[in-house]
Homo-oligomer: 225 residues x 2
C-alpha cells in the first residue's frame, strides 16, 4: 500500500497557529483532514472553535479523546488553577508544560493518518517563540518523525510550516493565505475566556504577534499598537 | 534537577514479558514503579493480573487510562471480533496491530516518569519474536528514546531486556530471576480467557517459549512437550 501524496492530516487545536496551518495545508494538498485532541483541556471552547473552523473550510474533522493527561495531572492546563505566566522552579519549564503532550498528540494523529493511508502530518509547533516548550523544537520533530516511521512502518513526514517564523511572521503568513477570517473564529486564551483574558501567556504572545505585524487581530479587533 | 539513577518505571501490562521485565528491574534498581495502560483492551483481566503482580512485588502501581484507541478503532484488540492469527491484506501487518500503541504507551510512561524525576524506562518489547509489530523493534525504540529526550528535555533511557531474546530465552531469564511464581499470576491470552484460550497468537507464542525452554508454564501447568 502506498500513501496518498495529495493528502494530509492537520493536528488542529482550533488556535491561531493550527488554523494557519490548516489554511496552509489546504493550499498544498487536495485532501485535507483535521484532528483535534480532547485531552480534558480547561479551555474547552477551543473544541467548538475547531469544529466551526473545520466546517467553514469544508474539511473532515475528528475530535479524538485522550483522557490520560487529566489522570496524570500536574500541569495548569488541565487543573483548576488560574493560568499565569510562570516557571516551575524544579524543572525550569513553564507551568503550562504538559510533559509529552505534543509527542502523544502527533502519535495519535499519525495513528489516525495511518488508518487512512495518509503520510503527511501538519502541526503548528514553532521553535522561534517556543515559550520554553521542548516538544515544539525541530530536533524533537525530527526524532519523532523517525520514531513514527519506524514504529508504524509508514513514510510519515511531519510538516511544520511555522517552525522558524516569529509570531509576526505567522500573522503575515495567515494574511497571505487569506486566513484572517478563520483566525476570527480561532481560540488562543489558556483560560478559555471569550473575549480572551488578554493576560495569560498565550493571549500575550498572540497580541504581540499581531502588534509586530501591524495587523489588527480579527478576534479581538484590537487597535494596532 | 537530576534524575534518580536508582529508579525506574516499568511499562507493565501484567503479561509474561512485562512481568519478567518487572522482575529484571527489581534486580537493577532500588526504586521501581509500574504503570499499566488501560486502553479499553478486551482482555481486561490483565489489569487485575497487573495489580496482583505489582502488589506481590511491593511495587507502586498506577493504572493510567487512554481512551484514544477505542475511539480510533480498527483493530481486533479493542473490538468485539474474535482474535485469530491473521494478517491484514492491505498493510501486511497482523490484525492485532494497534498503530502507535507502544509509542504512545511509552510516551505516557515517560510523562509519568518525568513527573517523578525518573529517567529509566523499562519495556518488554522484543524484536526476535516480534510478531510483525514494527513498534517492537530496536530501531523504533532508539528513535523514540531520542524523541522523548528532546521532547521532555530529560535524559530518558529505554531499557529493553528482552529485545534480542527468543521466547525460550525469556522463559529462562524469568527462571534466573526467580520470577516463575509471578508468571503464574500473569496474563497473556488476547481473548481474555482464564485459563487461556490456547489458540490466539499470544497463547501460541507463550506455549512455544515454555516448550522450547523445557519448562512447565506455571499458568497453565501444561506438561513439558
Amino acid at each position: 500500500m502506498q500513501p496518498d501524496p495529495a493528502a494530509a492530516v492537520v493536528l488542529f487545536s482550533g488556535g491561531q497557529d493550527s488554523t494557519t496551518c490548516l489554511a496552509w495545508a489546504l493550499r498544498q494538498y487536495r485532501r485535507v483532514e483535521a484532528v483535534t485532541i480532547d485531552y480534558g483541556q480547561r479551555h474547552r471552547v477551543e473544541l467548538e472553535c475547531a469544529r466551526a473552523i473545520a466546517e467553514r473550510c469544508g474539511v473532515p474533522h475528528r475530535i479524538l479523546p485522550c483522557d490520560s493527561f487529566t489522570a496524570l495531572g500536574g500541569n495548569s492546563l488541565v487543573s483548576e488553577e488560574v493560568v499565569r505566566d510562570g516557571v516551575r522552579q524544579d524543572t525550569g519549564l513553564p507551568n503550562t508544560f504538559v510533559p509529552g503532550r505534543n509527542l502523544i498528540f502527533l502519535c495519535l494523529v499519525a495513528a489516525y493518518a495511518w488508518q487512512r493511508s495518509i503520510a503527511n502530518l501538519v502541526t503548528g509547533v514553532c521553535q522561534t517563540d517556543f515559550s520554553g516548550y521542548p516538544d515544539c523544537r525541530q530536533t524533537t520533530m525530527d526524532a519523532l518523525q523517525a520514531a513514527l516511521r519506524a514504529g508504524m512502518d509508514w513514510p510519515f513526514t511531519i510538516h511544520t510550516p511555522l517552525m522558524f517564523l516569529t509570531k509576526a511572521d505567522s500573522v503575515r503568513l495567515a494574511v497571505d493565505l487569506d486566513a484572517l477570517p478563520l483566525l476570527a473564529l480561532s481560540h488562543t486564551c489558556y483560560n478559555g475566556s471569550r473575549p480572551p483574558c488578554g493576560t495569560c501567556p498565550a493571549c500575550l504572545l498572540r497580541a504581540k504577534g499581531f502588534a509586530e505585524a501591524g495587523i489588527a487581530d480579527p478576534l479581538t479587533a484590537s487597535p494596532i499598537r
